[in-house]
Structures are given as C-alpha cells and as structure tokens.
C-alpha cells in the first residue's frame, strides 16, 4: 500500500483494488498508517484521498520514493514526444 502511495495519491478504492482487500480492511489499514504518521488522508468530494506524509520519511526513503515517482510524469512526456514524432512522419514507419 505504501508502495502504491509512493507513486502518487490514491483513493481508498484504488488502494483496495490490486490488493484484493475489502474496503473496510483498507480503511482500517489506512487508519493504522495514519496513526503512525506515515500516511495522511483527506476527504475530496465523496472520495477519501490518501497520500504519503513526506516528513515521516527518512532522507533515504524520501530519495527512493522520489526516484520512483519521477517516472510517472517522465513516461507521460515520452508519450507526448512519441505522438509528436508520429505526427511528423505520418504512416512512414507503419506502412
């Protein structure tokens, strides 16, 4: 769960899905993490959004999380560049 949150904030149901846990079990787990100061959560509309509490992490842990997190926007940008490159050479490489 902490690994998932290292990628970015997530709702309780997003946390539950890959873990095959019930929502109630996930909420309980989040509460434990909140009590230990590792995770914070807030109600956004009808969704409870959970995020890692950076201050709770050591420098090293923070650095690890950062190395991982950086890939999200980076791979998004790769997607944008691929679309731009594809538009430059329409179908040339697909024929």
């Amino acid at each position: 769960m902490v690994e998932r949150l290292a990628i970015g904030p997530a709702s309780v149901s997003e946390l539950a899905e890959p873990l095959r846990m019930t929502l109630a079990a996930v909420v309980q787990h989040v509460q434990v993490l909140e009590a230990s100061g590792v995770v914070t959560s807030e109600k956004v509309g009808r969704v409870r959004l959970c995020r890692i509490e950076p201050a709770a992490m050591s420098v090293v842990e923070g650095w690890m999380v950062e190395r991982r997190r950086a890939w999200g926007p980076r791979l998004d940008r790769l997607g944008e560049v691929l679309r731009e490159e594809n538009a430059k050479q329409p179908n040339e490489e697909n024929i």
């Binding site: 690994e3 950076p54 050591s58 420098v59 090293v60 842990e61 923070g62 650095w63 690890m64 950062e66 190395r67 991982r68 997190r69 950086a70 890939w71 999200g72 926007p73 980076r74 791979l75 940008r77 790769l78 997607g79 944008e80 560049v81 691929l82 679309r83 490159e85 594809n86 490489e93 697909n94």
Partner: protein
C-alpha cells in the same frame, strides 16, 4: 558519529504506447529526442544533457535550483538489444555527494502495433556520506525539491 546507511529498493513501472517498439526505442536512443522527455530544456542553472548511445557510452544530466546544489545523473549503458531492451547503470549526486547507485532495465514488448514498456530499477540508496545533522536537514529539503525541479526543467 558514524552512521552510514544503505537501503535497497526495486520497483517496476509499466506503460503502454500507441506506437511500435521501433519508435519507442528510437525515443530512448536518439539524444535529441530523449532530451525532450527525459531531461527537458536546458534553462536550469548548470543544466546539461548528453547521451552517447552505445554499450559503454555515458548519459549525463545536470540540473539544480539557482543557488542550490547541482544534481548529477551519470549513467553508463551496459546492454542494448535494438527495439527490445536497454540496460544501464547510474549514479545520482548532489554536488559531490553520491546519493544512489542503480541498475535500470527497460524492456519494449510488441503488442500488435503498440508497445508495452516495462522499466525495472534496482538501487542502493546511500546515506551517511556526510553525517552532520545540519547537512542531513539540508539534504532532506533539497531532495524534496529535486523532483519538482526536474519536472519543471523538463516541462
């Protein structure tokens, strides 16, 4: 006080792209293209990006906030299978302090005309190279700003 700390971590990031592996591989191997998404523009202080794409070749990226430390990414490419795989190792530095040493494996899997990219990073994260509490606090806040800085310079 002696307090060196080593922590190991492995993570996997997967992503699908609507183009064949050949084009995704090209975006990883041609410096002018890779700089656009990996390193971004060079307007940050001390910024610079280089890529010598061959086995044994280096990839370098430098960035950092004005007045702050220069973060250096220093990679060496270890294995290339065109359109299929790239393996590289890299170190990260804040000025002269080595922060981490990692192995990264990028696999491009063909999925019809699409590509499924799987990136695996295995790293050892180093701490204690300078053990004063003041330095640690400084490093903490600087690391916190690093991600945002890299994202901004790349935007």
């Amino acid at each position: 006080m002696t307090r060196s700390n080593t922590v190991h971590d492995t993570f996997v990031v997967e992503r699908g792209y609507d183009v064949p592996p050949e084009q995704v591989f090209k975006a990883w191997s041609e410096p002018a293209i890779k700089a656009r998404w990996f390193a971004g523009s060079s307007d940050a202080l001390g910024a610079g990006y280089e890529l010598d794409f061959r086995v044994g070749g280096h990839e370098l990226n430098r960035a950092g906030p004005p007045g702050g430390p220069v973060y250096t990414y220093d990679a060496q490419i270890r294995d290339i299978v065109p359109r299929e795989r790239i393996v590289y190792t890299y170190e990260m530095y804040a000025d002269d302090a080595r922060l981490s040493v990692s192995v990264a494996t990028v696999v491009f899997r063909a999925d019809g005309d699409r590509t499924h990219l799987v990136l695996t990073e295995q790293g050892v994260f180093l701490d204690g190279h300078d053990t004063s509490a003041q330095r640690e606090e400084g490093t903490r806040s600087l690391l916190a700003s690093l991600g945002a800085e890299l994202d901004r310079t790349a935007a």
